[in-house]
């Protein structure tokens, strides 16, 4: 028995050896950045190049930009303006076009969830704002996405009984419909679909919002007016037509399928022919 106990002790000792955090062993990378700088909406923008020598592979992309901005501020330069909020991939603020791809190289990943380990030492990274007439640049990488808010506003209201909170199971929603509605409801309105679409179409965003609301029993009386108004507003904002490139689905950080666009077209046709 003794040898066995000895063996157990030995292996336990081995297990409790402190594990050296990998962060300490990772080496810093040099990253060359080519970033769109634009003073304000009226001025003409241009690319500026920067080199960061201390980029850790565990940094998120936005943390890398934070490091750049610290250096710029220390040198008395204007920091690079970019949008962010939650840094958890759920708010949709941080849409940047990185090396020509909205939200960078990874599928179903927002910029804030992208890590520098996806890049190699010496890489050049080009960062541009989402480019669309409907998303005018406010400053540097920040664009005005209030066109999306106006599409939502055009959707109007949903008639519900006000007063005390309704009983949770009062209105049953079939499981399949609830799942579909939830899939579309995951749209975080980041605008990557517009940024990546060769036509700058907002069809995926509008389709997801219409699909989400029209699947649920609440708001059924308004569903026809909703789809007609939202489609009209989408066009009024100056977004392009959908050419079924499906690039929007590829860049969507929450993976919304282009079936949302088919949903929008179906609902539009139904609204048209029911009247």
């Amino acid at each position: 028995m003794i040898p066995v106990r000895h063996a157990v002790t030995a292996s336990t000792e081995k297990i409790i050896q402190p594990i050296e955090p990998t962060i300490m062993s990772s080496s810093d990378m040099t990253i060359h950045l080519k970033i769109w700088r634009q003073k304000n909406a009226e001025s003409k923008g241009r690319f500026e190049t920067y080199t960061l020598d201390n980029v850790n592979e565990h940094m998120s992309f936005l943390e890398m930009l934070d490091v750049l901005n610290e250096e710029l501020i220390e040198n008395g330069d204007d920091p690079v303006e970019f949008d962010y909020d939650c840094r958890e991939g759920i708010c949709g603020s941080c849409n940047l076009v990185i090396n020509g791809r909205a939200h960078g190289p990874k599928h179903m990943t927002a910029v804030c969830q992208l890590h520098m380990r996806n890049y190699s030492d010496g890489d050049t990274v080009v960062i541009e704002p989402a480019r669309a007439a409907a998303f005018p640049v406010i400053k540097d990488l920040v664009v005005d996405r209030s066109a999306f808010d106006r599409i939502i506003e055009a959707g109007g209201y949903v008639s519900v009984k006000t007063g005390s909170a309704p009983e949770a199971n009062l209105i049953p929603v079939p499981q399949k419909k609830a799942n579909q509605a939830f899939d579309y409801a995951t749209c975080i309105g980041c605008g990557a679909c517009v940024a990546a679409c060769p036509n700058s179409s907002a069809s995926l965003f509008t389709g997801a919002k219409i699909g989400h609301l029209n699947k649920l029993p609440q708001g059924q009386p308004e569903k026809q007016q909703r789809v007609l108004s939202m489609v009209a507003q989408m066009e009024k904002e100056g977004f392009g037509d959908c050419s079924n490139y499906a690039e929007c689905e590829a860049v969507c950080p929450v993976g919304i399928s282009i079936s949302a666009i088919a949903e929008m077209r179906r609902e539009y046709l139904k609204a048209l022919f029911d009247n």
């Binding site: 080519k34 769109w36 690319f47 076009v97 090396n99 020509g100 791809r101 909205a102 190289p105 599928h107 080009v126 541009e128 480019r131 669309a132 007439a133 409907a134 990546a196 060769p198 036509n199 700058s200 179409s201 069809s203 007609l228 489609v231 009209a232 989408m234 066009e235 100056g238 977004f239 392009g240 037509d241 959908c242 050419s243 079924n244 490139y245 499906a246 690039e247 689905e249 590829a250 860049v251 399928s257 282009i258 079936s259 666009i261 088919a262 949903e263 929008m264 077209r265 179906r266 539009y268 046709l269 048209l272 009247n275």
Partner: protein, 236 residues
């Protein structure tokens, strides 16, 4: 509530109309190819086919007017989508690339406007060459008919026509490679499984149609119309 015309001009309406007209044009192309292949039938097959079509009378005119309308709507919407795209992104990206995965961006899908415009221009030359071309008169089943077959063979003996047609038919294949699947998607196809099957079928159909169209001019050019597959042409 938009009127029908307003709805047809909306982004959703435009796409649905492009899908419907696109599919109608695919049917027309298949029908046209079947007609072309009569060149490999018996000596009079192609001229008989052309004579039967011409003798149809008013239904032929309805088909012609319908086709012109379908082509016009498809082309008009296609060009307007391209125009709106330019307005919707006045400043292009310095670097742009597709993320792959579910994306359907390809040389075929990105060149739809270019291939479409070339096909439209080609259509005028094509009608001028064959539908309005000078033909001899032949007697088929006791009736006078145009000798379309000789016109086709003599046209494709010219390398400019043979290779020009081949080039345009490659563009047609590229246009259909994205177009067939896109038509179904525009017509609200939602199922992922169906979508990937239609995409594959669309690409295969596009390749088969293009190859079949290309085979005729190249076969005539390289055999001078005297190959074993064509009968009844006086080779001298």
């Amino acid at each position: 509530m938009p009127s029908f015309i307003e709805a047809a001009q909306s982004q959703v309406g435009r796409k649905i109309l492009t899908g419907i007209t696109g599919l109608l044009l695919v049917f027309f192309i298949i029908f046209h190819l079947a007609g072309n292949l009569t060149i490999f039938g018996d000596a009079d097959a192609m001229n008989r086919y052309s004579m039967i079509l011409h003798n149809l009378g008013w239904p032929l005119w309805i088909a012609r007017i319908g086709l012109i309308l379908v082509f016009a709507i498809h082309a008009y919407i296609g060009i307007s989508i391209w125009w709106q795209k330019r307005k919707a992104r006045p400043e292009e990206y310095d670097v742009y690339s597709s993320k792959g995965g579910p994306s359907k961006q390809s040389l075929s899908s990105r060149s739809m406007a270019f291939t479409g415009v070339i096909l439209l221009i080609f259509l005028f030359f094509h009608i001028n060459t064959f539908a309005l071309g000078d033909t001899e008169t032949v007697i088929i089943d006791g009736q006078e008919a145009s000798d379309l077959k000789t016109l086709v063979i003599e046209t494709f003996q010219n390398p400019l026509y043979a290779f020009g047609y081949t080039f345009v038919m490659i563009l047609l294949g590229a246009h259909l490679g994205h177009g067939i699947w896109s038509s179904f998607t525009s017509l609200t196809m939602k199922s992922k499984k169906l979508s990937s099957s239609i995409y594959s079928i669309g690409v295969i159909l596009a390749v088969v149609l293009a190859l079949a169209f290309i085979f005729i001019p190249l076969y005539i050019f390289f055999t001078g119309g005297c190959g074993g597959l064509i009968s009844g042409y006086d080779c001298v």
